[in-house]
Amino acid sequence: MARKIGIYVCHCGSNIAGTIDVEEVARWAGATIDGVAVARDYKFMCSSLGQQMIEEDIRKKGLTGVVVAACSPHLHEKTFRRACEHAELNPYLCQMVNLREHCSWVCADKAAGTAKAKALVYAAAERVKQQVPLEPMEVQVNPATLVVGGGIAGLQATLELADAGYHVYLVEREPSIGGHMAQFDKTFPTLDCSACILTPKMSEAGQHANVTLLTYSELEEVSGSVGNFKVKVRKKARYVDETICTGCGICIEKCPRRVVDNGFEAGLGQRKAIYTPFPQAVPRIPVIDTAACIWFDRGKCRACEKLCPTNAIAFDQEDEIVELQVGNIVLATGWKLFDCHKLPQYGYGRLPNVYTNMEFERLCNAAGPTNGKIVLRDGKTEPKSVAVIHCVGSRDVRHNESCSAVCCMAALKFGHLVLEKTKAEVYSFYIDMRTYHKGYEEFFQRLLKEGMHFVRGKVAEVTDAARTPGEEGKLIVQVEDTLVGQQQRIAVDMVVLMGALEPQADAKELGLKCGISCSMQGWYTERHPKLDPVATMTDGVFVAGACQGPKDIPASVVQGAAAAARISGMIAKGHVMIEPIVASIQEDKCSGCKICNTMCPYNAIEFDEPAGVSRVISSMCKGCGTCVAACPAGAISGAHFNNAQIMAEIRGILWDAVPSGNGQAPGVPAAALNP
């Protein structure tokens, strides 16, 4: 049928018209490109008037394709597709030309800009002639949701969804939910006790009818796609039967083996071989640490088993794989602490009284190993002076270029706690003091009044090499006070290193399982850093909390709730529309060579043995087109990006490059040009 193409060139005020002669481009297109029924330019195409103009042309002139030469499709493709839809033209018969981002804004010279613009428009016109109507695909949404990570962000998302009446599977790697927040004593800037605000949420999640807790468990495998994910979770053997255990704690009490607790107590305290991380753990069911347990070590003991009133100890328990079906996934896997050994000049690990921030959290915590007493490693001496060093592993090109966001406020909190609990002097060594949220700056001012000392400068080293008798037996902090412009040596009893927040070691691996990518550093990549920081590039997979980037508690809670809201919306609607940009296999052309099957990272291509052909499961296809390019038989076609369309685009974009004479590219055989 005869093609009637409409071409619409946008001025975007002066954004495009400034460097491109848009009138000329429109005039030229109308005169030059074959099949163009109408070519116009307009101040702002995306304005309602601009859209109306396009819609009218479609109706009145019966356009079969529309080319909008304006800004990036990532900005306004939806807008103009909607306009076409209003005028009953299939939205996939609309093609955008990225004149603004890819041409006018990057070209210095108007002539060159206009020439480039013409080529881009020509390409789009040739392409749109090859485009065909497509219908978005509708997928039902399974109302159950998987939340990975039981820290504050994951808890928030879980409770929001559960309270909305939807079922949630909450998977947590540790024996208890709670995450880092459970280790803290106070929370800035209000100083309310972390446990007091967290534990109610934990127990609520533990008891909620709509929540299935899977603690001491890890995500094994994810398949399927938005609306219908299939998930495998590994429940690690606890050696305690959850169905019988009452959490009475006798086993823990009677267990003869004590070990240093490098997990929850950050190495400061001890725990038994059978343990719950902390008294308020949810669930209160203990786990046996096989590395420590005497039975696993020497085949003796079993004290816990003998003394358990409900015979819940099960030494024969094994890991079990649980299969779940969910519609959406929230990753809230949090962060890990920077390894302070990597900065030997600060002496962590060498100098006993150098602590990490997490160690210090436990030190301050009333429920911690010292019952909240701030004392040196000897366990009794109260420090007379404490130094808090900021940005340890953060804002440091050698380790993490980024700012860890929470350390300044945490450092101030530490300062307050020291001043409150001891008579010590407290020094903060900072690069910049970053206190930018509600009540934060006020907290900083409060600490200034409380008498915390602030030295602006990056600490060169922490050493025990005394130079003066006064320094003997102390830790000396060598620093240039950049405000005074002087080298200083400040002798203290205790040093706290504000270690950086880093991505979990296995963040990339987990991301791959869920089909989402990470930043160079390892933080999960959101769909849009500003306008969509909750969703990811993979539909149905959301991120919340510090796994997306360093965050404090309020920000994590916000993101957790936001993810939940997005998911509730999808569940309430019941279905999602997914772009029809998927691959399909023309079975009569397929010879079953099995090249394509290895191409798909989403296993969307299945092989039908009896028929001897491959098939694309369109609901699982993400439309990358790699198999289309790989198929040696040319049997696979990618909707909206098929060969005919791209080849037409190439010919169009080079309209001014083909030399005269018989320079046309050959077709062999001549007829073999169908998509």
Binding site: P344, Q345, G347, R350, E461, T463, D464, A465, R467
Partner: protein, 297 residues
Amino acid sequence: MKYAYYPGCSLEVNSAAYDISVRAVAQLLSIELQEIDDWNCCGATEYFSQDELTACAVIARNLALVDDKVEQLIAPCAACFLNLKKTDKLMSDSAEMNGRVNTCLAAGGLSYRPGRVLVRHLLDVIHGDIGEAAVRDKVVRPLTGLRVAPYYGCQWVRPMSDVDNPEYPMKMDDLFTWLGAEVVDYPVKAHCCGGHMTQISEPQAFELIRRLLQSAVDARADMILCMCPMCQLNLDAYQGRVNGHFGAEFKLPIIFFTQLLGIAFGIAPEQLGFGKEIVAALPVIKAWLGRAAAAVA
């Protein structure tokens, strides 16, 4: 493997012990050293502060003189090591500098392509290329019970920190752990020895030296091991003056790490240049050998 060898001026006279022990140890580890023919002074630290081009040209001459068939160069002196490395880098980073230096070299009928020669320090070669296993099975006299304080100084890792941790170097620590010595962990092992400060302002220099000696003594070290002639000179030759200045009683042998390495490998002390140091090291070593023998008996 064959390396070009750049001894540098110090190793000719006051640090001859370093040169002797380097050659002895290298031979034993079958590190073939081919001394650069007609090498010249690296200009030490001063030249660069005077005139970068001159400094580079003077140093580049040595690189240009390296045999085409040899790809790596060993400079035992930390200052020479740094200067050679720095020159190569300045030339590869800036086409302009490269051009100007090569113009200078051309005057002498020479030329040098940046990156042609890889500048190494012996410590790095032994630690990396030879490696733990090979070093361990060369040991005939384990240094068990000997407390050593490795001293790195500045130029080994600063400003170019690609060979070791710039804040807290460890390679000499590793090496002597392999040899069975008790390596003391003292906090100032990468602090400055004062360099030429001794010529400018003795009180400052002496304070810097004292800190190093004090810290090593506090750590109950039997001796300090150096990898730089300047460091060795300052700590050894000025120890008396420092004692006088502070009324201290330091009597800490300061030797080159290659000398003790040689002992562990069973090379006779006289073949390692012992006796040239001012604070005698042999008595300490003999005493230790005595202790060791006693321990065995």
